[in-house]
Symmetry: C2
């Protein structure tokens, strides 16, 4: 499915937490990652911009890390809402931040086709979630990631 026709968790981040370069709806220059729940998984689509190259013809690895990061954080928030008995959009979304990010670049990711990201929460407590992410391009999984997400600390304005 295209995630652009669906409700994304990022639509419900409070304004102060919606300026993220990766996923903030209020960041005019940002990537606008949108995370939509399908069953237990978070899905996101992203088509890299022309300038998002690494080596010529392939997607920049830092962009892939950024997509994995924001999509994992969004999936952690969406699953936390479900666990609390709410649907995405019932209330302001909880905001997680990244404690650790790991990315394995399995093969080069071709620049051109849209990317599909699928994320799954593999461990969750009230304060923390571990999220695994796969990135697919042209029918192949090219990159995988693992993110440790924690509820935003009071030092960051929560």
């Amino acid at each position: 499915m295209s995630t652009h026709d669906h409700t994304a968790i990022q639509d419900f981040y409070p304004d102060a937490f919606a300026v993220c370069y990766g996923c903030g709806r209020l960041n005019a220059h940002g990537l606008h990652v949108r995370t939509v729940l399908q069953g237990e998984d978070g899905l996101a689509d992203f088509t890299p911009r022309p300038e998002h190259t690494g080596v010529s013809g392939f997607v920049y690895g830092g962009l892939l890390a950024s997509l994995i990061d924001c999509h994992a954080i969004g999936t952690a928030a969406a699953i936390a809402e479900r666990t609390a008995g709410r649907a995405v959009g019932d209330a302001p979304a909880p905001r997680f931040v990244t404690a650790a990010l790991h990315v394995d670049y399995l093969r080069p990711t071709p620049h051109g086709p849209p990317l599909s990201l699928r994320a799954h929460v593999v461990e969750a407590t009230e304060r923390k979630a571990v999220v695994e992410v796969e990135v697919e391009a042209a029918g192949q999984i090219t990159v995988t990631g693992r993110v440790v997400a924690v509820r935003i600390p009071s030092s960051m304005g929560a």
Copy 2:
């Protein structure tokens, strides 16, 4: 030292490998990370753009991952040149790509001050280097990273 007044390894990537969004001198929209050797360490400076926010007031984690990635790759290349008995600029720079990237976000990175990155190769063979990176902002190390860099494979145009 400011790395902008010094020779950077990225100035010597062959044109085809100099389009990277993170560090390519030929990418008009990119971040232009520049890696300068000082002793055995690679140094880089970067001042985040206004839009590079995560949560308001703090630097976007995906940008930090991108800086770590490109600076580690640059440091791997610069140290490989030294190991081969050449100085940076004596020959076209060897090009590494990222096999794996790990980032630990130790504390929030304030948005505003310039960031200083210091990278060190902790393991190296002819085909591979493991590089550790620290990111400092306003006198504190806020983020650390570890990158597995490999010599660019023939499938990517090497």
